[in-house]
Amino acid sequence: MERYAAGDDLAFANVYDAIAPRLYTYLLRQTRDAGAAEDLVQQTLLQMHRARGSFIAGSLVLPWAFAIARRLFIDRVRHTRRELGTMCDAEAPDPVSTETAEQAVEAQQLAARLSDELRRLPESQRVAFELLRMDGLSHVEAAELLGVTVNAVKLRAHRAYVALQTVVEALFGTKSEESQEPHAPCETPGGLSRSDE
């Protein structure tokens, strides 16, 4: 992005390659509509292109891109009056695709429960959780996007995790394995986080 802001037009292809899959995944989950997600990805990247002259050297690119995408998504939702979805069942990972129909139904029900629980969370917790765990932003990136401290992001995501974990425990009566450390840092491998990427 730094090279692009400085006038290297060819660098935009690199910006696209680094950002577009992240944006597309995020917007697909938000819109549940591949066409809408594509449209919003295009608009987001065009907005970044228009604002390249004002790009601050050394600043994080991903929170900026996500903020633009989020703004465009909200704009779109308000005008089309579509219900904002936060969890896309169709996009949810399917860990039981090879199992029996009964198990698949069971898993679908469980996914729905978790989705409902996620939707019921306070927006601040839900958004922090989604940005960290589903969109793969680092704590620093999510904090910048949300305009809060890194610790606040960790706390919100932790609370969301605990709430979801409670659902699983309520369903099965015992504490799930691997649930002891929801607070571990979740740095995003391969994420575009610096302007020189």
């Binding site: 577009a20 597309y24 990972p93 949300l146």
Partner: protein
């Protein structure tokens, strides 16, 4: 492991959702033709490079600085009498320092493309007029008679001067930051308005010797409040992303 299958799947699902079972969240690949479309759209729409943007901002800064100064001197410039030199230095100097700090905080975005946090901007918006008022009243109270009532100076001339001086710099700073605040354009615009109001306060303070408190509220504080409100109003329209459909410009930061 004798874990019940349903529970095992629940754990798997939760951990997949939370990213604990994978090194990174799964990414959906955008269609191949999207890349071509985006690159074609970008190619067909020229945008300013950083150098071009800097030149434009410099021109806007010059415009925003020169126009109020010209108007200030056209309206008479410094009017010291009956204030002692030291009082003018203290009040205008204090206000200039406050305006400088407000300007640095409001006009720049720090090291983030999303600008400063909304809470910081709101604190700045509220603190600027309060600080300016205290910096005017404090030194003036040290000099006998400086805060006396002036029956013929209710503050409307100062208000008019403030209203006259503020539009050019406010327009300049808003245009120099056009489309750069997708997260909280209204708060950013309000903070810019407050900072411009603080700069205008310095000139009004040089022009007006009155420190009578009701006069200060009408003639000195009110212009800052007005520029803040106007900054918030136009911030929503100018600082937000271009091309959004109007009437729904609510701030999107969570």
């Amino acid at each position: 492991m004798n874990e019940p299958p349903a529970r095992s799947r629940a754990n798997a699902l939760l951990h997949t959702m939370t990213g604990h079972s994978e090194p990174s969240p799964p990414l959906s690949c955008p269609p191949a033709d999207l890349r071509r479309r985006v690159l074609a759209a970008v190619e067909g729409e020229p945008s300013r490079t950083r150098r071009q943007q800097q030149v434009r901002n410099a021109a806007l800064t010059l415009f925003g600085g020169v126009v109020p100064l010209v108007l200030f001197f056209w309206k008479g410039g410094l009017r010291q009498d009956p204030r002692p030199d030291v009082l003018v230095l203290e009040t205008a100097g204090g206000a200039a320092c406050a305006a400088f700090v407000a300007g640095v905080l409001a006009f720049s975005r720090g090291r983030s493309m999303l600008g400063r946090r909304r809470a910081s901007l709101l604190v700045l918006t509220v603190a600027a007029p309060v600080a300016l008022l205290l910096l005017k009243i404090g030194p003036s109270a040290q000099f006998p008679g400086m805060m006396a009532s002036w029956a013929e100076r209710r503050g409307f001339r100062c208000l008019w001067l403030g209203v006259l001086l503020a539009p050019a710099p406010l327009l300049a700073v808003l245009l120099s930051r056009r489309g750069t605040s997708p997260a909280h354009p209204t708060a950013a615009g309000a903070a810019m308005g407050a900072a411009v109001g603080a700069c205008v306060w310095v000139l009004v303070d040089l022009w007006c010797p009155v420190a009578y408190i009701p006069h200060l509220f009408i003639g000195h504080v009110l212009p800052v409040v007005l520029t803040t409100v106007v900054g918030a109003f136009f911030g929503t329209r100018i600082l937000d992303l271009p091309g959004l459909r109007r009437g729904n410009a609510r701030e999107s930061r969570g």
